[in-house]
Subunit: 437 residues, 2 copies
Amino acid sequence: MLSIKRLNTRDDGFKASLRALLAFDATQDDSIENAVTDILKGVRQHGDAALLDYTRRFDRVTAASVAELEITPAALAAALDSLDAAQRQALEAAADRVRRYHERQRAETWTYTEDDGTMLGQKITPLDRVGLYVPGGKAAYPSSVLMNAIPAKVAGVGEVVMVTPTPDGLRNPIVLAAAALGGVDRAWAIGGAQAVAALAFGTDTIAPVDKIVGPGNAYVAAAKRRVFGVVGIDMIAGPSEILIVADGTTPADWVAMDLFSQAEHDELAQAILLCPDAGYLDQVAQAMDRLLPGMPRADIIRTSLANRGGLIQVRDMEEACEIANDIAPEHLEISADEPQRWADLIRHAGALFLGRYSSEALGDYCAGPNHVLPTSRTARFSSPLGVYDFQKRSSLIQVSRDGAQTLGRIAACLAYGEGLQAHAASAEYRLPSTEKT
Amino acid sequence: MLSIKRLNTRDDGFKASLRALLAFDATQDDSIENAVTDILKGVRQHGDAALLDYTRRFDRVTAASVAELEITPAALAAALDSLDAAQRQALEAAADRVRRYHERQRAETWTYTEDDGTMLGQKITPLDRVGLYVPGGKAAYPSSVLMNAIPAKVAGVGEVVMVTPTPDGLRNPIVLAAAALGGVDRAWAIGGAQAVAALAFGTDTIAPVDKIVGPGNAYVAAAKRRVFGVVGIDMIAGPSEILIVADGTTPADWVAMDLFSQAEHDELAQAILLCPDAGYLDQVAQAMDRLLPGMPRADIIRTSLANRGGLIQVRDMEEACEIANDIAPEHLEISADEPQRWADLIRHAGALFLGRYSSEALGDYCAGPNHVLPTSRTARFSSPLGVYDFQKRSSLIQVSRDGAQTLGRIAACLAYGEGLQAHAASAEYRLPSTEKT
């Protein structure tokens, strides 16, 4: 039997119970922080030598030079060629759909000219070089390689550099194939905080990048947090979450399996179902009991659902949407007959999956939108990974001689008000009364 | 006499000299970090009471309740009414221009439907509530209030909440007037790390926000860094910088004053001039010597230029643009006859000021683009503050029954490859062969 919390919004203390369910201790571990401090310092000071040393100690891979740790473009291409036909086709179809969706996110430079000839605008440029971290071992997801590399290449990033640890020298061929398909330009068999340090600071062999993206363990996350400012970073992801708002019209088995598909990620993953119909919640609970034994990752699912899962009875669908906005979930399935009606009420969610056919799993792999999404309520203020994370803007200001007369007076007045006389003088120099050439 | 470094790209060791000039020690101060830890904990645990206590200790303002510390909408409106006509007109003209520019940055929701009926898209929503930190005392810039509040309101943020310390009860009327003009919804006379804590965690009187923006001292910066994740934050700004690329055709006095306008901000500000013409660099140096005594902030300017300023002779304008890309300056003036020709070579800068009439001061106050810009080389990967910082995206995925057949197969294949059987089953449930209702 599967144990999962049942809540009802009519209960006293529901809000507190919901908060307790959502709570997640993100406290940083001092021993990890200290280890990362040492590793960052080591790579910064000793470069390639430190990188080789840490790789030998942590991944049990001995190399005479960092150059030996390169996974060559030929090796990436060979991995792609080695896939069986079905897997290759699936990966290619996914890459193609992800690319097409992300192409719509590309921003373009714009300018406009005012009546007096002053031109204003916003110039869009891609980042020069981006580092993509890909975990080794069991958390190595080829789909993540696509989701991170493709937006960068669509943005026009000059060079995408992948790092991935290869413990005991073991390379994951599907990950390398995905790198080839995603357009990764160079790849290195390094990982951990030492790989983050190499990307941020550069070494003799590895050129520094401008931004580092991609998931990683606690050491990688701590290292990314530390190098932020030297380089850009993407979000530091918390545990993955799904919230399903159901009106009770989707087969209970489907919703049960959607909850499982989140819970199977890891013990900290969170899967919550909201529905106005208590009977439907019962059906889903029964379906979960029936389906669990067939799941290879049943133990992870059981722990995740027992500790962090929830079946919540709401008064109505409107209330479900209010709660969804409060939770601001990473993934929100609206499994209902009129999904758009409820979607219109949603302000905060990483991705909305509308209607019974839109299971999260389809979005995780191949619908097109990115699967790197804001977790832990950060959808209140942040967005899925996208092309916009690999482009940046520069303001364009070309003031005409006439424009300088108007703007100069305004600027000088405000500058005097702020006590900044050099600002005022710089503006006034451009006025006709003082203009000298 | 003003002392400022002269460099030449032809010199041995130029690169190292340039690095040394750009270097800036951003080490965090442990005593500040510890104080901020205590303040955050205090406000989190004791709410309003802690806020009142810190405000009494740090700002010497005693209030019986946090409600007493509100700066009411009527008080903001009164401050606006109290401005003299010229200043009010200047502030209104600036607000109007900033608003018009930022309206072009607003993103809109888009969707598209594929042949099989699957709908994909990107939904745009504003943040619900934003906190705007405005420093008290000498660093209180009304222009900054406009530059932070207007993009938030253009984005559609429901509530913009300003906090600003009022040491000894002293309120800055121009700051309050700018808040009224910028559309600030509520304002509180609180500051420091305690104000950041109140905005991030909320108290009985102050509702929590979703993002905190605006400049502040080291305590405010440390507090923002700590609450990041609970709320969004804007960049933590380093010292302000200008890089001027000149071809020698702009009056030397103008360029000298533009360098001063950056240097007068504070002793750590950085002002650097690149020019192929040694004679012109001499002229600018002479102009600075002549103009410095007339500057009220001459001491700050002298220190800033002596420690962090530079006049650099380059081989040609192309080389100047290469160096500009390496520096990735916050402000880049291209003071030249063909500014667009050189602007096309620039990949990394917060804002580009093109042509002799486009002094940075015009952009600081009223050209239209934002004056909150990426510092310390972060223009390599980040952008000016904009409407996009107050909007966020949610992916939209509505898979049709037909679409689920195609996508389900791809997703299931990839999910099996990643060992995620519940993902595969969730996708396969939507295939016709297994579909049950």
